[in-house]
């Protein structure tokens, strides 16, 4: 791996002149802080072991909470006896459904998951009773003493079975949570125009986030009656919104404090609601702080997963490779509880997101997609790095390659013919009117990787080897924001008389670098240095509502809110400096702790001196910014509208070696190109890219929550396999900047994009190498082996 400065690798493609009156964008002038690969603000604590995660904080005086779990995927609870458990010395509380003080239900969108199950259980691991005890050992002993009588019910494990007449009902209102539709043009007409039509079904399993830090929470009732819920959480405001009604409290009597996370990837949007509500109910009854931590097996058993999907694709093209129509059906398996799955108007929901993106980043006049979100008696689906998008990319990117093969054109050619460009209309009819760098990512990736040449060279790596080499491409697009009301973002900026700054936001840090990138934006806008800005960690009592840290929205949406907040203060600073320098405000510029006259840069003031003067004269040094993207639209019947305000684009290219005798795959080379709008911190961005590719590699080759008749067979990290350092190749990142004129300094979201095209790029490379295509993931050695058999055996030498 060459050691190069990430910053040198950023290519600026456009520098749009931005209309400052319209939005919260900063002028794209020379940036002193933004665009720099500055060291992360929390690195020193991490490398010395001093960074405190929730499990590292003191837990003296805490009770330990534990959950009694359902051993059945679907059963009625006939009776629960808790007397023996309650009488065990050291037990402070044994709670059942009747003990929940308020609403006995939580959920990010629909509160359909019981805090404690009352009458029935819906998946293996469902919570039937809660215990708090002086030690975890005692709590576990107490759980054993609770006697539950169940009546086992027939269960359903496949979304198609679940929709059938007479299927067991997971919830009383039925198993179909939502059927959403996208209708653009007339697919019959489109297929009539096609000269080649491909029909395929692709299938993906439940995936576990496998963040390294197991879930943990602390709930403590404060003397003033406020319930404190503290721990790793991606969405403190959503957690608060759930804990309050469960306790029967107004929202302002619940306080959620985020502690640095050991990874989240979407999973800790949801699990802290579950743990938080349960621990809070125990703390409410015992009036003692309750600490609840999950063992690794419990994390896998209890918390949300990436949604499995069955995806039917029909795609047509004319002889010259132009796509004419796309028809898709998505069975999106929600599992036992709704979690983040359901449609949240206008464009929220995993199946809605999948539906919107299913036809891929390609121009087509005729598109029809039906998306079904369905309950089953499996664990439940939540958000995981891409929320519906990774699944459908696996479908459309493989379909594109399969179609190209039928047409006799190369994978690059079919994408060059059809890829979005400025002015393209998406499947929802949205016209992409700015910041569309998809084709540029393809060409940049090709330039670095040399796909066309390598595509022709594939074959056995040497005459004696059983290994064949192949290359694959994956293209992708991903939204910035979540397409629903939760997208508003607030930030407060306080400048002090010594020039130091406090930044208050509710965006959380889970390793992605928000606590570095957000202060960078604040420092840039104020004209100070990164070290001058201290970020106040998310605490719902202190920071403005920011929505959840999901949807690749933090840098862009919160960045805008920070810029707006900083500008309010900067107005004071510049006015004061104008008085002091006797230069009009319009001529002043702030950068690197100085305010200077653009026309005569020798004339300058220290930022600190101006701040002192502002304070002394009563000028405002506090700013509050609020930014929400343009309101999303998506018609309920036709799926037409502008669901998300801007998209990030990407192309990935992978080389693999496949042992055609065994089906083993090694990924040996990798290039990924992105149009990110603007790289606020290129090194941190590269980190997101490399990690995302590794996660996409795991999805392609090894990851799967293996569930048999409702029972998960790989609860530990010994059996739920994620890529090790031996499995992931060095990844070369190519960063392109097509300015987003709705983003801070032109930035777009990047958190989720990198893992999305990685999976199909690798699957396409496998198919290219060995002739076998795996349409039901993961492409583990056995599946690749049978795919090669199905394709007629190993290719001749």
């Amino acid at each position: 791996m060459d050691k190069t400065d990430a910053k040198d690798q950023v290519q600026v493609l456009t520098k749009t002149k931005i209309d400052l009156s319209r939005l919260a964008c900063a002028a794209p002038a020379a940036n002193a802080v933004v665009g720099q690969s500055l060291q992360r603000t929390d690195d020193l604590l991490k490398v010395t072991g001093k960074l405190k995660y929730q499990a590292d904080l003191p837990k003296e005086d805490c009770l330990h909470g534990k959950i009694l779990r359902s051993p059945y995927p679907h059963a009625l609870i006939k009776s629960i006896k808790t007397d023996k458990a309650k009488s065990l010395p050291g037990v402070a509380a044994v709670l059942t459904a009747a003990d929940v003080p308020g609403r006995n239900g939580f959920g990010a969108i629909i509160p359909d998951q019981p805090v404690i199950c009352a009458d029935k259980v819906r998946f293996v691991g469902d919570g039937v009773a809660l215990v708090a005890a002086e030690t975890e050992k005692i709590a576990l002993e107490a759980l054993k003493l609770i006697e539950v009588e169940y009546e086992v019910l027939p269960a359903v494990f496949d979304p198609r079975d679940s929709l059938a007449e007479g299927a067991p009902k997971v919830h009383a209102q039925g198993n179909l949570i939502s059927h959403d539709k996208l209708r653009k043009g007339d697919v019959e007409k489109g297929f009539a125009e096609a000269e080649v039509i491909l029909e395929r079904t692709y299938q993906v399993p439940f995936l576990e986030h496998a963040y390294l830090e197991p879930d943990v929470v602390l709930a403590a009732l404060q003397p003033d009656g406020v319930m404190l819920v503290q721990g790793p959480m991606q969405a403190p405001f959503t957690t608060r919104r759930n804990v309050a009604p469960v306790l029967g409290l107004p929202i302002n009597k619940v306080r959620c404090v985020q502690i640095h996370m050991g990874g989240g990837f979407g999973g800790k949007e949801d699990s802290p609601i579950d743990l938080g509500c349960r621990a809070a109910v125990l703390a409410w009854h015992t009036k003692r702080p309750v600490y609840m931590s999950l063992e690794r097996e419990e994390v896998t058993l209890q918390t949300c997963k990436r949604h499995p999907m069955i995806m039917q694709v029909k795609i047509g093209a004319s002889k010259d490779g132009k796509l004419t129509a796309f028809e898709g059906v998505i069975y999106d398996e929600q599992g036992a509880y709704a979690s983040l799955g359901p449609r949240l108007p206008p464009a929220g929901g995993s199946h809605v997101h999948a539906m919107v993106m299913m036809a891929g980043p390609y121009e087509m006049s005729h598109v029809k997609v039906d998306a079904y979100l369905v309950y089953t008696n499996h664990p439940y689906g939540g958000a995981m790095r891409g929320f519906g998008a990774p699944q459908v990319h696996i479908a459309h990117e493989q379909a594109m390659d399969e179609l190209a093969a039928l047409l006799g054109i190369s994978p690059l050619e079919i994408r060059r013919i059809n890829a979005f460009k400025l002015g393209s209309a998406t499947a929802t009819g949205q016209v992409l009117d700015q910041s569309v760098g998809l084709r540029e990512t393809l060409e940049a990736c090709e330039k670095s990787f040399g796909f066309s040449k390598r595509f022709k060279q594939a074959g056995y790596i040497n005459p004696k080897s059983s290994k064949r080499r192949g290359v694959g491409v994956g293209m992708g697009w991903y939204r910035t924001s979540i397409g629903t009301f939760g997208d508003g973002c607030g930030a407060n900026v306080h400048v002090h008389e010594d020039g130091s700054v406090l930044l208050f936001t509710g965006i959380t840090e889970m390793g992605q670098g928000a606590f570095t990138v957000l202060p960078q934006i604040c420092a840039e806008e104020l004209g100070v240095c990164l070290e001058d800005v201290r970020l106040v960690k998310p605490d719902t009592d202190q920071v403005p509502e920011s929505g959840p840290t999901v949807g690749s929205r933090s840098t862009t949406l919160m960045g805008n809110a920070i810029i707006l907040a900083a500008r309010q203060v900067k107005e004071s600073i510049l006015e004061k400096a104008s008085e002091m320098l006797m230069v009009p405000v319009s001529r002043l510029r702030a950068s690197q702790r100085k305010i200077f006259d653009c026309e005569n840069p020798e004339r300058s003031l220290e930022f600190k001196a101006v701040a002192t003067a502002c304070m002394a004269t009563g000028k405002r040094l506090i700013g509050q910014g609020w930014w929400a993207p343009p309101m999303a639209t998506l018609d309920k019947e036709t799926g037409q509208g502008n669901p998300y305000h801007v998209y990030t684009y990407s192309t990935h290219m992978a080389e693999v070696e496949v042992d055609v005798e065994t089906g083993e795959v090694a990924v040996t080379d990798y290039v990924a190109a992105f149009d990110v709008g603007k790289a606020i911190n290129p090194k941190a961005l590269e980190g997101q890219i490399e990690g995302g590719v590794a996660m996409g590699l795991g999805y392609a080759l090894m990851e799967e929550v293996a569930i048999v008749q409702g029972y998960t067979k790989n609860l530990g990290l010994n059996n739920y396999l994620i890529p090790t350092i031996m499995d992931v190749p060095n990844v070369k990142s190519v960063i392109l900047e097509m300015t987003n004129n709705l983003g801070p300094y032109g930035a777009k979201g990047i958190g989720e994009m990198p893992n999305i095209p990685a999976t199909p790029a690798i699957l396409n490379a496998i198919a290219h190498a060995c002739g076998g295509r795996v349409r039901s993931l993961p492409a583990d050695p056995e599946k690749v082996f049978w795919a090669i058999r199905e394709a007629g055996g190993p290719p001749p030498r």
Binding site: P71, E136, L140, L143, M702, N719, L721, D727, E782, F785
Partner: protein, 307 residues
């Protein structure tokens, strides 16, 4: 209740009322005896500790044998290589003696778990755990290794062929006996070995299949003098493909005889369908690939390569 509580609930600790550190082997045996089978020997603990946490096993005491004298040596006397009962995977994987005498064992030891596991886990522990596909059991089985077991009745030797009784069960009584040594005859002079492993990822994972193969040849006559094929997990215990081996004994070194043995080894294997380790059909196919590769590799080492 119709279900096992421990299948759905987990502890964050292990339970053992006493941790005993004997200074001599005799003392260790006495300590074990005093608990009437309810104590367990602990060496590296890498297998034992997880099963204690998951409550698959409950013990009253742990008897730590890792500091007993003479347990950590690797020595060769003439043809025989002896490893002490406390030899770790890392030691075996990096030992020049093992590398020279049995490269397949070094490779197997180097494939166990992770570097951290290999630094404390022992070969003896791997054998006693009685798993059908332990990375060091299979090479040792193919090497016709034998083990020394200390029991209250004295020392005895057990050949590994026949040592494994069922999943997790061996001829060693883990509550009363201690494995003090592992022995095998060095390869060389017309005997070669090979270790072949199939897994879902490239480090830190249990194998889907291991084939450990030893081939003995008479290079002058180009015939097999003998062959040992150890496979796992294809049966409840590590499997010696005895019928395939029988086909090879005395057979000419040729693609045909290897092909016949490969088919037979596959027939002898009866892996179960596993959602984690692969289907029976697939693994039987893989037995063919890995036995073929293993024999070819072993023959090359023995100085009599297949053309």
């Amino acid at each position: 209740m119709s279900y096992q509580f421990n299948e759905f609930h987990w502890a964050n600790d292990i339970k053992a009322g006493q941790y005993l550190q004997p200074a001599t082997l005799a003392e260790a045996l006495d300590m074990l005896a005093s608990f009437g089978g309810k104590a367990r020997v602990i060496a590296g603990g890498t297998d034992l500790v997880p099963s204690l946490r998951q409550r698959h096993l409950e013990v009253e005491a742990l008897v730590d044998v890792s500091r007993l004298p003479g347990m950590d040596g690797i020595a060769r006397q003439g043809e025989v290589v002896s490893l002490g009962g406390g030899v770790t995977h890392a030691q075996a994987a990096s030992s020049p003696v093992v590398a020279e005498a049995a490269g397949l064992l070094a490779a197997g030891a180097g494939s166990v778990g992770s570097p951290q596991i290999r630094n404390v886990g022992t070969l003896a522990g791997n054998l006693i755990a009685g798993q059908p596909a332990a990375d060091t059991s299979l090479p040792l089985l193919a090497l016709d290794a034998w083990v020394t077991i200390a029991s209250p009745q004295g020392q005895r030797e057990e050949p590994l062929n026949g040592f494994f009784l069922g999943k997790g069960r061996t001829k060693l009584d883990p509550g009363r006996e201690i494995m003090t040594g592992i022995h095998f005859k060095a390869l060389g002079q017309g005997r070669g070995g090979s270790y072949q492993r199939l897994a879902k990822r490239k480090a830190m994972t249990l194998p889907m299949l291991v084939a450990a193969v030893v081939a003995g040849v008479d290079p002058g006559r180009k015939v097999f003098t003998g062959a040992a094929i150890a496979l796992g997990p294809v049966a409840p215990t590590p499997l010696r493909a005895a019928q395939a081996e029988a086909l090879l004994a005395g057979a000419p070194v040729s693609a045909e005889s290897v092909a016949a043995a490969v088919e037979k080894a596959s027939e002898e294997s009866s892996p179960r369908d596993s959602c984690l380790r692969g289907s029976c059909d697939y693994r039987r196919e893989m037995v063919k690939v890995f036995v073929r590769r293993g024999l070819a590799d072993a023959l090359a080492q023995a100085g009599c390569p297949l053309d």
